[in-house]
Amino acid sequence: MAANKKVLEFKKRREKVLQGGGEKAIQKQVAMGKLTARERILAIVDKDSFHEYDLFVEHDARDFDMDKKTLHGDGVIIGTGAVNGKPICIFAQDFTVAGGSLGVAHARKITKIMDHSLKMRMPLIGINDSGGARIQEGVNSLAGYGEIFFRNTLASGVIPQLSVILGPCAGGAVYSPALTDFVFVVDKISKMFITGPEVIKTVLGEEISMEELGGARVHCEVTGNAHFFAESEMECFEQIKKLLYYLPWSNSEKSVKLETALPNKSYDITEIVPEDPRQPYDVRDVVKAIVDNSEFFEVQELWAQNIVIGFGKLAGETVGFVCNQPLVLAGVLDVDSSDKSARFIRFCDAFNIPIITLVDLPGYLPGVDQEHAGVIRHGAKVLYAYSEATVPKVSVILRKAYGGGYIAMNSRHLRADFVFAWPSAEIAVMGPEGAANIIFKREISSAEDPDEMRRQKVEEYKEKFANPYVAAAKGYVDSVIEPEETRKVIQHAIEVSSRKEIFMPRKKHGIPPF
């Protein structure tokens, strides 16, 4: 009987803590169109798989009457569970408890689950919904953030780290998501910024709403800080599960191998790319004509759209795609697209995901804004990322590959394993018009009809150099292939390069042009 009484007391205690910030605070949370922290976790993990830890953790702050306050769970829920049948670590900040503010006990709970995820080698999902540092705890809350950032960095490249922003995430708090691999945001709910609209208004006199400053759309379209945009929390959770279906659980594992499935017949690879290199098309259709089931999971779909990155399955195994997108800005490389692709290449390399590069670009975007924004440094990231990557690297040059763009897009010279080119490929030092203007400058200017002469010389150059055979003659291109062979050829190339051995000079780490 005595045991029963203790069990009852335990149940009572648990019941109390599970209420989080209480009825009123929960109603407020719901009124904002948000789920509660616990609902969020349960919506992400597989049914009945969630196990919570540190439910009874309490803070020991004394100043500002904090010793009289009980904060259930100290404003954060941590635990383990499963997604797609495989174990994961998860934490969710509870905005109903003191605004989800981060004190030292709160931070310790988070770092505990982070340590688990690294030690036990499984992905970490962090749900952020917090007003920021718990001011009453002073420098202790800063220490808490620091401990989290440090662990994000240690775990980087070992386990996948996913951040979900489902509320405010301001000041120092934003740096944990920024250090993780993928950031998910939801329209009208997610807000991220270093200094809020109030401070900006007081100090600088600039007036801007929270949504315009750091809403979900801004981070998906303008800053590139977020990777996945969703209209609702439930849509966001589906995206998380879908992404995890492509990812390996750690850098020493492979992702789940599925049954091979052919691409959908409605994507005819011979009917997507126009012959004229100046005409656009959607390169995602080419990807869909290559991958299993024509299923392509795009990353950062709304930012730097002139390059397309994402995951697909090829013969059941995960592959990463990096593709120039002629539909937007003619597919040029610029500051943002370099940044976007370089980081993705490094993610794939860290997690042993083969990289397929589809090349069709006229070069770099000209402009003072680009030069002054440091396109040299950002563009160099692409060279660095490709050169450093040791996973199977296969390129297919669909049409144009001019100048520096040719080198950057996983060329032979950056240790690509295989480079293929379609018959429509034009691999040259620059586009025919530009090249003819320089090489035949004298002939053109001294001609009776300079325009006619220019046209002739452009044709002459096209005939001689705008093809894949000059590069193939040097072995820079391994094979010229027909478009319909693409899937088969890539699949074989990845298969044979999957057991390659790469020798790197001994070093602590390189210094990429961050």
């Binding site: 600088l204 009917e271 539909l327 937007v328 943002d336 402009g367 804004d369 586009g431 478009p483």
Partner: protein
């Protein structure tokens, strides 16, 4: 290769973009369309490099000044920044008064 559908056909938001002499048909993104066109700086125009408040105005229109002489104090981020004369010359036109809050890139004064 077969004749394929061109996404630019009958689509007015498809624009021309010239890269190294070749004109490509493509869609532009917002960032590209909103980019600032670069203008050569005019040393006779003194702009604010940061938003803030004019705390002190040292000069009058027509006044002759030497290079390095203080023109105004612009307080921004709790710092008092002294804006100085870039070269010898005279103050042609003043566009601010003491106490004015000005945005970044505001023309404070013109010199001759």
């Amino acid at each position: 290769m077969k004749k394929v559908k061109n996404p630019c056909d009958n689509n007015e938001s498809c624009k021309a973009l010239v890269i190294e002499g070749t004109e490509y048909r493509t869609f532009l993104n917002k960032k590209f369309e909103d980019r600032k066109v670069w203008k050569a700086p005019d040393p006779k125009m003194i702009f604010s490099v940061i938003p803030g408040t004019i705390i002190t105005l040292y000069v009058k229109e027509g006044q002759r000044m030497n290079a390095g002489d203080p023109l105004v104090i612009l307080e921004a981020m709790k710092m008092r920044n002294v804006v100085r004369m870039p070269a010898d010359g005279s103050v042609k036109k003043i566009n601010v008064e003491e106490g004015n809050r000005i945005p970044k890139g505001h023309l404070i004064l013109e010199i001759d």
